[in-house]
């Protein structure tokens, strides 16, 4: 079968803080229209990995984006003036919405902000695109004028998704997006992710400590343990036939 071209690819990425390794030789690929789950315990390097992917953190190794104009370039070697252009292809959704949203401004304003930063000034366009993104994120439009400070946890995450969507990214990175949400809100949020993948053909990297959350949406799963990828496979393989001791413990501990 023909080799597929991944959308983005990390090759042997290493990151140390002082004399402690946060990531050791991490390689992974994200393919178009794929949800890649990254599972690991606290301190396994999940957040560091996302920061590197979002170009917020330096690292050794290679990071490639297979997008016209960027082929063959190692994003880890970009100057900080080049980074924003590469970051355009990506969007990040944080566990804590306050990291990404202006909590006192209307949801709609929050969602439109990336477009303003990209130079869009026509009010009608900003409003229409932000509304469309909110709708795709299953956010109740009648609350589009409310600031995130007065929204529930699940609604805030939907505003974050809309803010990501409005940028039309090739891949969305999600850092523990459902941690702290109650089970029903979590389930409907995962529904939205599944639908976005199916309807928009989006690629997602979903990072979570919760194997059940990852299982619900991921096509493939990468298991991080002490900064290393110890297991990688199809979602059902990793859950039904885990091979690394850590993954076996993780699966056995699943509720």
């Amino acid at each position: 079968m023909a080799e597929e071209t991944p959308l983005l690819e990390l090759v042997k990425v290493c990151k140390a803080y002082g004399d402690r390794w946060a990531l050791k030789n991490v390689s992974l690929k994200l393919y178009p229209q794929e949800v890649l789950g990254v599972v690991g315990a606290s301190g396994s390097g999940k957040t560091t990995l996302l920061k590197i992917l979002y170009l917020q953190e330096t690292a050794q190794g290679e990071y490639r984006l297979n997008v016209p104009g960027w082929e063959g370039r190692n994003l880890l070697l970009l100057s900080r003036y080049e980074q924003p252009a590469a970051r355009h292809y990506l969007a990040m959704v944080y566990q804590d919405a306050a990291q990404a949203l202006r909590m006192g401004f209307a949801a709609l304003t929050n969602v439109a902000e990336p477009l303003v930063l990209r130079g869009e000034r026509r009010f009608g366009v900003l409003e229409a695109e932000a509304q469309e993104a909110l709708e795709r994120a299953d956010f109740p439009l009648e609350r589009a004028g409310d600031p995130p400070a007065s929204l529930s946890g699940g609604e805030r995450q939907r505003v974050q998704i809309a803010k990501a969507l409005v940028q039309k990214p090739l891949a969305v990175l999600l850092d523990e997006p459902t941690t702290g949400l109650d089970l029903l809100v979590q389930a409907t949020f995962l529904d939205t992710l599944r639908r976005l993948k199916r309807q928009l053909g989006m690629s997602l990297i979903l990072v979570s400590h919760d194997l059940s959350v990852v299982r619900a949406v991921a096509d493939r799963i990468v298991v991080l343990y002490q900064g290393e990828v110890v297991e990688e496979g199809l979602a059902d393989q990793v859950l039904e036939d885990p091979r690394h001791p850590f993954t076996q413990d993780l699966v056995a501990a699943r509720l």
């Binding site: 199809l234 393989q237 076996q248």
Partner: protein, 240 residues
């Protein structure tokens, strides 16, 4: 509908083996070893053996939910022969979507997905239009005896038999060249068993090769072309 699998060999399994390494217990468990057989288009192979002889593990290994630890499983595709034991994850996904159907003993219902959506999904992967896919999904579910009022509800709340009907329909809706059936009739009522038998007969005529585990042979009477006994093979292997 591609006609490429109507004739010839579909699958050749050579010395396939699966062991589990249970790190916490420091032990190795053998599921099966030295399994070899071949399967032609339209053939029905019945797997035999007592509980724990590795029948389900073999099916899961062929579907690559389990990693084989040795051997080959050569599947015929329009692009040539591929070894299921060595394919990369992405290739396995593509092969599953196009060429292998798998019915587990139990449905693992995806939360908040309706019966109709679950069954229509494999057709959407094949590029069938959404309303046509839903129509065919409804037809098949009703044929298997699912109550019409359940089509648009969530299988998480279904009875065991109703779940199994959804599970079956999801794997039968597209005529895969290879179909793996792991005791699909255990929780079915008589009418559904008969409907399944007729459906399998039709699939066989279309060229689908089937590997199945069935405890009640009545459920597949007139369909079985050959049997493979896992227990006997394992004994032979250990004596050698």
């Amino acid at each position: 509908m591609p006609q490429d699998f109507r004739k010839g060999k579909v699958l050749q399994v050579v010395n396939l083996e699966k062991r589990f390494f249970l790190h916490r217990l420091g032990r190795e468990v053998l599921a099966f070893q030295q399994v070899s057989f071949s399967l032609q288009a339209g053939e029905f192979l019945l797997l035999e053996g007592p509980n724990g002889s590795g029948k389900s593990s073999l099916l899961r290994t062929l579907y690559r939910s389990y990693w084989p630890t040795a051997g080959q499983a050569l599947l015929q595709t329009p692009l040539g022969t591929v070894d299921l034991a060595r394919l990369g994850d992405r290739e396995v996904l593509a092969i599953r979507r196009e060429r292998i159907g798998y019915v587990s003993q139990f449905l693992d219902p995806r939360p908040r997905t309706t019966a109709l959506e679950l069954v229509a999904e494999p057709l959407l992967w094949q590029g069938v239009a959404e309303n046509q896919a839903r129509h065919r999904a409804a037809e098949l579910l009703l044929e298997l005896g699912l109550k019409p009022e359940l089509l648009e509800t969530f299988p998480t709340s279904f009875s065991g038999g109703e779940k199994q009907k959804v599970n079956l329909a999801r794997s039968l809706i597209h005529p895969y060249p290879l179909l793996l059936l792991d005791e699909p009739t255990a929780s079915l009522d008589t009418a559904a068993k008969l409907a399944l038998r007729e459906r399998l007969r039709a699939l066989k005529q279309q060229g689908t090769a089937i590997i199945g585990v069935f405890h009640s042979l009545d459920d597949v009477s007139g369909l079985v072309d050959k049997t493979y006994s896992l227990e006997v093979r394992a004994n032979v292997a250990s004596r050698a």
